[in-house]
């Protein structure tokens, strides 16, 4: 038994955190929110270069050959930075779907293009109301229908851009028609696994977002003075932040365990993911409330950075299944339907 990441996994995560601390600051997020494409210029190429995007792809197609445990820690870092890129979708969901379940001969070519940074993929799972983030830059779409996952050319979809509460997500509502020609993952296993992986990645990002909101708030309340003292010395503030920390601290190990289960092909992986996403969603929602309250009015403005992390959290809390929906999966496992 060992519930900790390896030194190699932590070193990779540290490298990603360092990159994002420099290249994906709240200043970059503000610039992205005001830009035409909602992106941080050049950042994707660096993540490709570091082997993050192709983390789960075999080395033969230019991937890094890592497992989900290593990658889940990187998704956490993406959350910590509110990374405005479809990293989790592509690295955690699209790559393994093409790697393990694709029935079309061009899957390997797509993996090579993803790993080289030549292609990005827009992911549209049925749980997410037909919304695809960063759809305008997708080279191809991986879309869920009742019969499985389809690989769909941008020429045959309609994209209706919609305004998201998250100022850098740039989602579009996608219209398309499934056909046997586009079906790429026809097995129920493959589609179920894709949904689980997406929920796992969202859960990890939510933990990263929660940690970032707490860190920002600790800094703020240690500096901000009222009544002649830092407001962080007040017990009311301390208890809010202690509750915030407890919420995320007891979500993270469930997320790491779910990654282990997926990596090992554990038959209970679906239940483990459901526990992780439920707990991480509730934690992030609570942390968002508490950290906003600890800031007071200063965070209730688009001129303050906490908004990027709160807003991403609100989106991910409900994406890939809400806490309540995932608890119902766990409930079915425990009590039957």
């Amino acid at each position: 038994m060992r519930v900790a990441f390896t030194d190699d996994q932590l070193a990779f995560a540290d490298a990603v955190r360092s990159l994002l601390a420099k290249e994906c600051t709240p200043g970059h997020l503000a610039a992205a929110a005001g830009s035409s494409d909602g992106r941080v210029p050049g950042l994707w190429a660096q993540l490709v270069e570091m082997g993050v995007v192709g983390a789960l792809a075999p080395e033969g197609v230019g991937g890094t050959g890592l497992d989900e445990v290593a990658l889940v820690r990187l998704c956490f870092e993406a959350g910590y930075a509110a990374l405005p890129e479809p990293l989790s979708d592509i690295a955690m969901v699209v790559v393994p779907a093409l790697r393990d379940h694709a029935v079309t001969p061009d899957a390997e070519a797509w993996l090579e293009r993803i790993c080289s940074g030549d292609a990005t993929v827009g992911l549209g799972l049925s749980a997410n109301a037909g919304l695809v983030d960063h759809a305008d830059r997708a080279s191809v779409f991986l879309l869920e229908a009742v019969d499985g996952l389809h690989l769909v050319d941008p020429d045959v979809v309609t994209l209706e851009p919609v305004v998201s509460v998250d100022p850098v997500a740039r989602p579009a509502r996608i219209g398309w028609t499934p056909s046997s020609a586009t079906l790429v993952v026809g097995s129920a296993v493959g589609a179920t696994e894709a949904r689980s992986r997406a929920a796992l990645a969202s859960a990890a990002e939510l933990c990263g977002l929660s940690r970032r909101m707490i860190d920002m708030t600790v800094s703020y309340v240690s500096e901000r003075r009222q009544f002649g003292v830092p407001i962080g010395s007040f017990q009311a503030i301390k208890h809010h932040l202690a509750n915030a920390l407890a919420a995320v601290a007891f979500a993270e190990p469930l997320v790491w365990r779910a990654a282990v289960s997926i990596a090992a092909g554990d038959p209970d992986a679906v239940v483990h993911v459901a526990m992780a996403k439920a707990q991480a969603s509730d934690a992030a929602e609570r942390v968002s409330d508490l950290t906003l309250q600890c800031h007071g009015a200063i965070a209730y403005t688009v001129e303050y950075d906490l908004q990027y992390f709160m807003k991403r959290a609100w989106v991910l809390v409900r994406r890939d299944g809400s806490a309540r929906m995932h608890r119902s999966t766990v409930q079915e496992f425990l009590l039957g339907s």
């Binding site: 038994m1 240690s222 962080g232 208890h239 202690a242 920390l245 526990m275 439920a278």
Partner: protein, 385 residues
């Protein structure tokens, strides 16, 4: 990450679990009553006969030198098998770690084997009528008696769990009357049959005589380890605060409430839910959440154990554990009461009793308000008031 057990650990689990399944007594009365306490001592001595009363201790003191992982496994099996509460808990889990750290060899050799054998039964003497969360406000005194080579204790302790049934008390007394707050305190080991000690038991919320107040009227305790049978002092004179804090860290964290306890309770809750017709969706959700929280606590604790085994101290993070398990325990029992509905009031399976005990969780071992202060100041680094 490696969530599997080794072959040796699986063998340990099979052996311990097998013995427990064959030997766990059923229908014991509450260990927090005089009658029940005696019945529990028989069980404690049965555990000791298998070197299972304190598995992690060295063999010379009655243990099996089990690893921390094996201790977790023992706890999982113990509660899975439905074994009784541990009436020896305050000695084995709270005092013993302090004796291992601060006791002299003479103290270790005297006290530890008698503790694992349930011959000496220890209760904790921290709180006083005017010193609870503000523990450093202790006023019970120990004055120097050079003629007899020891100390004379005067004062009162209270909320002493199972004090009316135990044989010994460990606690803090003020040895330097001029020192303020946490300075000038010393950690004493006191036989409760020493002349001048009076113990008065009183009822907890659930009616069991689980509490006691303990009065000290010129009670003589010999120096250090000069005569362990008559009591003594542990660690440095006037250095008792540091010695006591080592104990409270164990109390909040791993050793007081192992994950196995909550996983077993969550499993019983799920059984109860499965046997209940027409559960409303909100109660079903609460049952599920309790199960998830028990899993989260188990995994989190395994992270703590990994850190300890690899030489990284969880430190003040143990306050997070305490807040989490104590609130989980209440939520879990409340879900059971909601499943039972009106029948909860007359429940023969102990959920209402368990609920009342769970309500004490956020209060004892340092209130959760104190724990949240510790989390904020020592884990998050917020400024002190």
């Amino acid at each position: 990450m490696d969530l599997s057990w080794s072959d040796a650990e699986n063998e340990f689990r099979a052996e311990v679990g097998g013995w427990l399944d064959a030997n766990v007594p059923t229908g014991l009365p509450s260990g927090d009553t005089a009658e029940g306490f005696a019945a529990h001592l028989e069980w404690e001595r049965a555990l000791h006969s298998q070197r299972l009363s304190a598995v992690s201790w060295p063999e010379e003191f009655g243990g099996r030198a089990a690893t921390l992982w094996e201790w977790l496994i023992f706890e999982e099996e113990y509660y899975r098998a439905g074994a009784p509460q541990r009436v020896t808990q305050n000695g084995i889990f709270l005092l013993a770690p302090t004796i291992f750290e601060f006791g002299t060899p003479a103290q270790q050799q005297w006290y530890l084997p008698r503790m694992s054998a349930a011959e000496d039964l220890w209760c904790q003497g921290w709180s006083e009528p005017n010193a609870g969360s503000d523990l450093a406000g202790i006023t019970s005194r120990a004055t120097r008696d050079d003629t007899s080579g020891g100390w004379r204790l005067t004062g009162q302790k209270t909320w002493t769990t199972r004090g009316a049934f135990c044989t010994h008390l460990f606690g803090l007394f003020r040895t330097d009357p001029d020192a303020q707050r946490h300075r000038g305190l010393t950690y004493f080991l006191v036989p409760l049959d020493a002349p001048g000690v009076t113990v008065r038991g009183f009822g907890r919320l659930d009616g069991d005589e689980g509490f006691a107040e303990v009065f000290f009227d010129d009670v003589f305790i010999p120096d250090g380890d000069s005569d362990p049978a008559a009591g003594g002092t542990l660690g440095a004179i006037d250095g008792g605060w540091g010695v006591a804090m080592a104990t409270t860290t164990s109390e909040r964290g791993l050793t007081l409430r192992s994950p196995g306890r909550f996983q077993a309770a969550a499993a019983r809750l799920v059984e109860l839910a499965a046997a209940t017709d027409d559960i409303d969706p909100i109660t079903a959700d609460a049952v599920t959440q309790a199960w998830i929280d028990a899993e989260a606590y188990s995994l989190y604790t395994s992270g703590d154990v990994t850190d300890i085994v690899e030489g990284r101290s969880p430190g003040a993070r143990s306050s997070l554990n305490k807040v989490f398990w104590s609130e989980l325990d209440i939520d879990l029992h409340r879900a059971a009461l909601d499943l039972l509905g009106p029948a909860a009031a007359v429940d023969p399976d102990g959920w209402i009793k368990g609920f009342q005990f769970a309500l004490s969780g956020p209060i004892y071992a340092g209130t959760n308000e104190i724990q949240r202060n510790i989390i904020a100041e020592r884990v998050l680094g917020l400024p002190r008031a």
